[in-house]
Symmetry: C2
Subunit: 160 residues, 2 copies
């Protein structure tokens, strides 16, 4: 049985107007979520199209727009962190990662802020967030490190 028969939605209807979208919605529509989940289970676009009762091309576009929305969400949070972060440190390529916490703390000190993170937190988090920017103890490219008052960290290649 095609799943679509349980979703007798009109053309172009992608949200329920009865629910006042209280505050708990995301960028991903129901349709996009269905496609993502089935895709993650290894199904082909054609299989999904049959399950959802639509065309293969449509599934392709639903998937594409879903990933677009995920990218938008990521960039939105990065942007928000960047404008909100009281501490931003420019780190030139070649810097020793072990010097990094010191650099962050010194900028925080200048603003008489006390960050809720330890030096080790910084090392662990940065390594995790951008492994491709490190090589052994060296930093490969110029990066900017942002830290919020809550201790969230963001690493970005300089000039992005």
């Amino acid at each position: 049985m095609a799943l679509s028969s349980m979703n007798p939605r009109k053309y172009g209807m992608n949200r329920d107007p009865d629910e006042p979208e209280e505050g708990g919605d995301s960028l991903l529509t129901d349709r996009q979520l269905q496609v993502l989940k089935l895709r993650l289970q290894g199904r082909s676009q054609q299989e999904i199209a049959d399950l959802l009762g639509t065309t293969r091309s449509n599934v392709s576009i639903l998937e594409k727009r879903a990933h677009q929305n995920i990218g938008r969400a990521e960039r939105t949070l990065q942007q928000w962190m960047m404008i909100r972060a009281p501490v931003s440190v420019h780190v030139p390529a070649g810097t020793d990662v072990f010097d990094l916490p010191q650099m962050v703390f010194s900028v925080a000190d200048q603003k008489s802020m006390q960050l809720p993170v330890t030096a080790m937190d910084i090392l662990v988090l940065l390594r995790r967030k951008a492994p491709h920017l490190f090589r052994k103890r060296a930093i490969l490219k110029d990066v900017d490190v942002y830290v919020t008052e809550e201790g969230e960290l963001l690493v970005m290649e300089s000039g992005l």
Copy 2:
């Protein structure tokens, strides 16, 4: 000089149709970003309204919708991580945090996955992401922990 005179946009125009939005856009519109930045500088809504050449109420709504979009972005990424995570562990209240890495690794082992994180990474990351869910070595509420293949972590209160 009011900033608005440099933004001679028509009514309802919130994006430049000439730029094909290559792929680097976020949820926050220019207008929303202006308000957020000025707000973070401590300005009042009325000040900002004067700067941008609009009304105080408008600034209030721009600010509100900006925060709505940030929330949407957060929920989107959480949702994406949840459906994508091959490892999800239910952790009952009262669990010792030091048992947590073991729980995660055992689930990963069951799926014969090798997570690119150490036990310490897990402790550091979870403490950082949800400090309010911990108290000394105990976990306060039932939570679910999700881990992706790339080693990203997410903690969520169970049933949210």
